[in-house]
């Protein structure tokens, strides 16, 4: 009996070691203004939740979060050719005992629809952070058809969806979303509204 218990503890320790995270490096300067520091709040929840794989298609709205993840030796950053690949990544990571998040623009949600069935069908927990286009002050009408149906599509494919409209709400909503996704093996999508991201990032 004592031997069996020792074995179990060994397994737990091995698992903990595999998922242990080092102290984050602070090589990127931290913005002090909450209007621009919300990606740091998301990243802090990634660390807290022990997310070890982050898939993304490069995106201006997510650029700071992507940079933070790329700079973290505990996070495998996986640049994708299409968002749909990231759905498989979440499933594979979960099979191997790691938590994963996926970053995309609202247009990317449409690229994932059939693949999302993998998460729903097997109960893989995951967090998808969606920067919205085509909904608030969008200059490009080509973004509007997908942006207008993004949240509906996510709900129809099995996601719990939470919208964030202001920078001071990011911390609370992303924290709650990560908890629900990984404590309950649920699919959680957090929509970062175009109003939050602001028009400045889209023009140069």
């Amino acid at each position: 009996m004592a031997f069996a218990v020792a074995c179990d503890i060994g397994k737990v320790l091995a698992f903990a070691h595999r998922n242990a995270m080092t102290t984050p490096r602070a090589s990127l300067p931290s913005p002090t203004n909450i209007e621009t520091s919300w990606p740091d709040a998301i990243y802090a929840h990634f660390r807290r939740a022990g997310i070890r794989q982050v898939g993304y298609v490069p995106d201006a709205g997510h650029s700071r979060l992507i940079a933070l993840c790329r700079d973290d030796p505990d996070i495998a950053d996986v640049v994708l050719t299409t968002e749909e690949e990231g759905v498989g990544l979440i499933a594979g990571a979960a099979l191997g005992g790691q938590r994963a998040a996926l970053l995309m623009q609202s247009s990317g949600v449409g690229n994932c629809i059939n693949m999302f069935s993998l998460l729903r069908n097997c109960g893989f927990g995951g967090v998808v952070l969606v920067t919205m286009r085509g909904e608030f002050g969008e200059f490009n009408p080509w973004q509007v058809p997908m942006g207008a149906i993004t949240e509906d599509i996510l709900r129809l494919t099995g996601f719990l969806t939470y919208r964030v409209d202001s920078a001071d709400a990011v911390d609370e909503i992303v924290g709650a979303g990560c908890d629900m996704a990984f404590d309950g093996n649920l699919q959680v999508a957090i929509l970062l509204s175009q109003r939050l991201i602001g028009p400045k990032q889209w023009t140069r």
């Binding site: 495998a76 996986v78 050719t81 749909e84 690949e85 990544l89 499933a91 005992g97 693949m115 069935s117």
Partner: protein, 188 residues
Amino acid sequence: MLDRRDFVRQLLIDRGDLLVVPGLGSATYDVAAAGDHPLNFYLWGAMGGTAMIGLGLALARPDRRVAVLTGDGDLLMGMGSLATIGVKQPNNLAIVVLDNAHYGETGMQPSHTHAGVDLVAVALACRFRNARAVSRIEEAADVRALLHAGNGPILVNARISAEDTPRVLPLRDGHAIKQRFIEALNSV
């Protein structure tokens, strides 16, 4: 050309702690026919996603070997995944394409490889460290050795006969397949 069942059976002989992700359709049936195993993550859908599931698993468990066995149609649908895998360079990931040059599940329509699209060349262009084509059963032992100890990422394009094979149907409940896999992986 290879008999798919015979080839897959030989690849999985004495598989040890190899993690196997078979793609939907015939690849899942072939892997089931070689012997059910809790470290098989059978797919019944998610076409185009098999290689990426392999990547997520390989990154999460660098201490284990991961073998994706899938059809040409599945790999063609997710061909960008080869570029994504090429960027990450997972040493422990191998993809075996069971290439019959046809879409078997839907009525044997010819696939892109039938017209000469070369998946080995695609893999090499995507920075795979090991990519080769096989078509003789005598090569199965070499491919098996690659799965267990080759430098990844690896892609093997296995030209198999397009003959129909009886379906061997494994577990279909996604939650059950996942849970069984995770428990087996955590117990070794």
